[in-house]
Symmetry: C2
Subunit: 204 residues, 2 copies
Amino acid sequence: MMTAATNRGKSARGGDNRRRELLEAAARLFSTRGYEGTSIRDIAAIVGMLPGSIYYHFKSKEELLVAVHEQGVLQVMQAVESAVDKAGPDPWDRLTAAAEAHLESLLAENAFSPVVTPQFTKAFDDPLRSTLIAQRDEYEAYFVSLVKQLPLPPGTGRRLFRLALLGSLNWTLTWYRPGGKRPATIARQMVDLFRTGLDPAAGT
Amino acid sequence: MMTAATNRGKSARGGDNRRRELLEAAARLFSTRGYEGTSIRDIAAIVGMLPGSIYYHFKSKEELLVAVHEQGVLQVMQAVESAVDKAGPDPWDRLTAAAEAHLESLLAENAFSPVVTPQFTKAFDDPLRSTLIAQRDEYEAYFVSLVKQLPLPPGTGRRLFRLALLGSLNWTLTWYRPGGKRPATIARQMVDLFRTGLDPAAGT
DNA sequence: TTGCCTAACAATCGATCGTTTGATTTGTGG
DNA sequence: CCACAAATCAAACGATCGATTGTTAGGCAA
């Protein structure tokens, strides 16, 4: 799905390099300094362009944000789906593969993806906010289906499990430092945490 | 610990009501619209004060933020320590009590606490950023001690467990809607999730 | 060559930002 | 009632914000 008027009716020819540069610069700044903390002038300076020129490519700062967010969701979703497709048929293996790809995307250098977190989304109000949430819901629905495949004891809160797992993964953004464990390792250990539990005397 | 010059040398008489009003208004706005998204004028309007008058109570917007953050950390920490003290001696019960109090504080109406999340902290740069992180680390250290008491099989990653649990709890801020399960219930179920695990065929 | 389209520049708009300054009100002790 | 300090008002400062406008230089097609 494409939010329409996201690009200027130009056909999908490969020639829109500056537009991609703008998206990438905006993504980096939005994810590090926040949306309000980033000015059009900051973005223009990075790509070597005058502030006004940005409005040829995007008709407003909000539209630029929507485009960045859309791109971020798209990148993460593609990475996750591709990883799951490569995994075996076991539902836990597939969920683990998804978690690994999810976290790797979020911590990747290029940094489109951090914008995907709903924490980022929270601050906006409602025309814009709904747009971003809708983009993201499409992605989270994929995790719903992955969790649904899990053979869990009846009565288990699948929704809470999904939210808790994604919370653990997404929260990694706030404490991860490069040089530590690889993201995929962290993701796998987290899934195992939920799967096997910690208390040797559990279930009493 | 008090960051010094946080108040204007006025003794701890109870009479600084407007200051508290300012702190509360700022907390609500900071946590919903973000720091950059909140203007001094917005805060002044809420408490019925002209923008310039705020500078009688706080010498800069940054100092106001630090004071709000300090207050937020303090409130959560006190709620958690009080809850743990009331709990029994069992380490898992104590951790559960902490998780419940933590999440209840974060979702409380008054809304000082959401500012405590490091997600919020991330956007600032370094003189300010370090101050906020230091305030928060003091709080997280308390969870380190709670997890240390847990009787876990040797070789378990206590650090990852703590981060994963706090991630699940903190992430609740992004999806919780009033009218659903009570925060304490959510917190308890999350701790149980980590404690007992989900896979009936686990440990293979 | 002519004509159009893309992409950017140069300059500037009104609004809003954090902050400062100096006068003025309000409350309180002598 | 007066003096003095605490608290707020009133007004404005320079800077920066997102956005608009008019123009121009290059590329490609007819």
